[in-house]
């Protein structure tokens, strides 16, 4: 049998794809299907498993902690993502000023948190937020402001962790915004200035619209990261030799991945934890699709 040139090309394409597909099958597809299978079982590591159909999903919808952890995760996302975008965009705009000196140094400084070990950084932040002798409350005291209980308070623990979440990711977003800003043609800005546009008009009418694909990318990445957040609330609530409960105090920082972790690896309810993991997948997919529909704007120049 003789294959046409295009058929041969297609065949070779599939042959080259085989290694990737095999890898994908083993490390993504198989665990994915197996996790779904687990979500249909009542399986508590120490005992035998029982097939329960969709009961885990039905129980999940009636579970107060499920809704509470979704609420906390969305709260985290709503606070952290806009915070990072606003601050990192400002920094990127500042670093994009042609006359600014020591650009490389500033970029490095802002990028350091991205490459800092998150567990170590969370420990340091925990000390900074310590209510009695911590640096944050020391300065608040000097300014005559109230000194919250931070990580020991159900009201302030999540905001304290959100500060760390913003600090950690500003550098990542800044680098991408900076790259996006540098792709905007100078000619368009120059033409606007000749036409008498102010700096603010230039930013609103030219820079922001042309930066839209970058903003969409950054926002989608940050939202996905925010919905999957684990390390910061875990370490700051329970890391180290402190006997703390992950997601504490009183579940006030129980983000969704901590909820799944707690169900699976502390309460050993693997089937129920798997069902919750699928709920997270659905949540991330839905939010990402809605987000792309809402903020993506086609443009041409």
């Amino acid at each position: 049998m003789r294959l046409s040139s295009s058929q041969r090309e297609t065949l070779w394409a599939y042959i080259f794809l085989i290694p990737t597909l095999v890898l994908f099958g083993f490390i993504v597809l198989y665990p994915f299907i197996y996790a779904f299978y687990l979500s249909l079982l009542e399986w508590g590591i120490f005992g035998n498993s029982t097939y329960t159909g969709l009961r885990n999903y039905a129980d999940m919808l009636k579970d107060n902690l499920f809704w509470k952890s979704i609420g906390i995760t969305l709260h985290w996302t709503a606070g952290v993502v806009p915070g990072i975008i606003a601050i990192s965009l400002l920094i990127a705009l500042a670093l994009n000023i042609p006359t600014l000196k020591l650009k490389g140094t500033f970029r490095t400084i802002y990028f350091i948190p991205v490459v800092t070990n998150m567990v170590a950084a969370s420990f340091v932040w925990r000390w900074l937020f310590e209510p009695t002798f911590g640096v944050v409350n020391y300065f608040l005291g000097l300014l005559g402001l109230p000194e919250p209980g931070w990580l020991a308070s159900t009201k302030w623990a999540l905001p304290a962790m959100m500060v760390v979440g913003i600090w950690k990711q500003i550098g990542f977003a800044m680098v991408i915004f900076l790259a996006g800003l540098q792709t905007i043609p100078k000619e368009i800005k120059e033409a606007a200035r000749i036409d008498g546009a102010s700096r603010w008009q230039e930013f609103c009418r030219i820079v922001l619209p042309l930066l839209n694909p970058t903003i969409v990318f950054v926002a989608v990445m940050l939202v996905i990261n925010a919905l999957r957040v684990f390390t910061i609330p875990y370490v700051m609530s329970a890391g180290g030799f402190t006997y703390g409960v992950p997601g504490g105090p009183l579940n006030s920082t129980r983000v969704f991945v901590i909820h799944i972790y707690d169900l699976g690896f502390r309460q050993f309810n693997i089937g129920y934890a798997s069902a919750n993991a699928f709920a997270l997948l659905l949540l991330i997919m839905s939010v990402t699709i809605i987000q792309m529909k809402l903020i993506e704007r086609p443009f041409e120049y």
Partner: protein, 418 residues
């Protein structure tokens, strides 16, 4: 030339075969959580076992406590678990029934030998259907650590630490210091190890079972249990609190000399000696509820157990290794070097194991120990911690918080033991 190559290949192959033959034939993978004073002892004991059993390698992996259960349970679920590992006594009932563990073979210990040799409470949780599934290690009680310097500074006598709950409240309040705004800057009692504080008071206060396994319920929602929770409320809330969640949140208060009293296991001596040699501390019996016999201050006994994986290919050898770990010879090392307590009855009154006053008090506390009661570990801790947090942080009434917690734990037990 060709003949030379063949000879060389033959020599290399034979050498490889010889190396293979000389290398250890059996590997026992051993997992336990890391502890500063216990890990070095296990390393030296493993070397000794290997020396006495040529051809056997003990592949010891100390795992940080935070990650221990994640790693162990994932490995067991995926059938890649170690041959030998340790589990806390709270896992005993569930694990022994689960089929995950291999029972102690008669060739290692008969049931009668186990019952005649070990303190009954250090093996009872691992008995199921007439067989034993684990041998004890890391036997601990709860004792009270006192910072002698802070007590002297407060005008108290370190040799007369609190013996009753009332004295604990009184002395803790004397030691506690506050700044102008009323924030605690030096605490009376370091309560960060909530497990110890909660369970000590509960097991001291309740005369009957704390967890009634036969009836699948907890009893701490009743009068005696409420007394214990009220003591916690007295220590932790109001203007005379002796510790607070906002005081050195997540920090080691006792080790930083910011708290005078600390309730923890005797093994903590090993950690303090290694990491905090400058602190002047002493060990005492825990304070007892008012009106109780002060010569017998009830404390909580807790232990872990070494168990063998039912899936191990080397079950007999795995149990021989555990037998060695629980032997008199090795228990002496555990007691003297890592500051554990013994589980063998014949070692409990051995004067060689109590070279100083601290060791003697720790050993004596074994006489007053009642075993920890709880069906589970983290899940049980979370429920009891939540009661604490509801009272201390949430401002909930003791009765309401305890009632909700007792119901949650009873439901948990019923789900696990159905």
């Amino acid at each position: 030339m060709r003949k030379g190559s063949l000879v060389l290949t033959w020599v290399i192959l034979m050498s490889l075969c010889l190396v293979g033959a000389a290398s250890p034939q059996v590997v026992i993978r051993h997992w336990q959580h890391h502890h500063e004073s216990r890990t070095p002892v296990l390393e030296s004991v493993a070397k000794e076992f290997e020396k006495r059993n040529p051809g056997v390698t003990i592949e010891f992996e100390p795992i940080p406590y935070d990650a221990y259960f994640d790693k162990l349970l994932t490995a067991l679920a995926s059938k890649t678990g170690p041959d030998v590992f340790q589990v806390p006594m709270g896992f005993g009932i569930e694990m022994s029934r689960s089929g995950l563990l291999a029972p102690v073979p008669e060739s290692v210990f008969t049931t009668k030998e186990i019952e005649a040799s070990f303190l009954p409470w250090t093996v009872s949780q691992f008995k199921y259907n007439g067989k034993y599934y684990g041998l004890p290690t890391d036997v601990q009680t709860l004792v009270m650590f006192v910072n002698d310097t802070l007590l002297k500074e407060a005008g108290l006598d370190p040799n007369k630490p609190p013996r009753t709950w009332s004295e604990l409240i009184e002395q803790s309040r004397i030691v506690t210091k506050r700044d102008k705004s009323g924030k605690i800057i030096q605490g009376g009692l370091d309560t960060r190890y909530k497990w110890a504080v909660i369970n000590l008071f509960l097991h001291q206060s309740i005369n009957g079972p704390v967890v009634d396994v036969a009836k699948k319920r907890v009893t701490y929602g009743e009068r005696e249990g409420l007394e214990a929770w009220n003591l916690i409320a007295q220590l932790m809330t109001g203007p005379e609190a002796v510790d607070s969640p906002t005081f050195l949140t997540g920090q080691m208060k006792f080790e930083q000399e910011r708290a005078a009293f600390y309730i923890n296991h005797p093994v903590t001596r090993g950690r303090l000696e290694l990491n905090h040699p400058d602190i002047k501390w002493s060990v005492h019996h825990v304070p007892a509820p008012d009106g109780h016999d002060l010569s017998k201050p009830t404390t909580v006994g807790h232990h872990w157990a070494y168990v063998a994986n039912a899936k191990t290919q080397n079950q007999k050898l795995a149990w021989q290794w555990i037998q060695f770990l629980a032997s008199e010879e090795v228990q002496r090392k555990w007691v003297l070097e890592s500051r554990d307590l013994p589980s063998l009855i014949r070692l409990v009154n051995d004067p060689e194991l109590t070279p100083d006053l601290e060791a003697k008090i720790a050993m004596d506390s074994l006489q007053f120990a009642r075993p920890f009661e709880g069906v589970g570990r983290n899940d049980v801790d979370e429920i009891r911690n939540e009661i604490w947090d509801n009272i201390v942080i949430g401002g909930m009434s003791v009765e309401k918080a305890v009632s909700a917690g007792a119901m949650a734990e009873t439901n948990l037990i019923q789900r696990k033991l159905r």
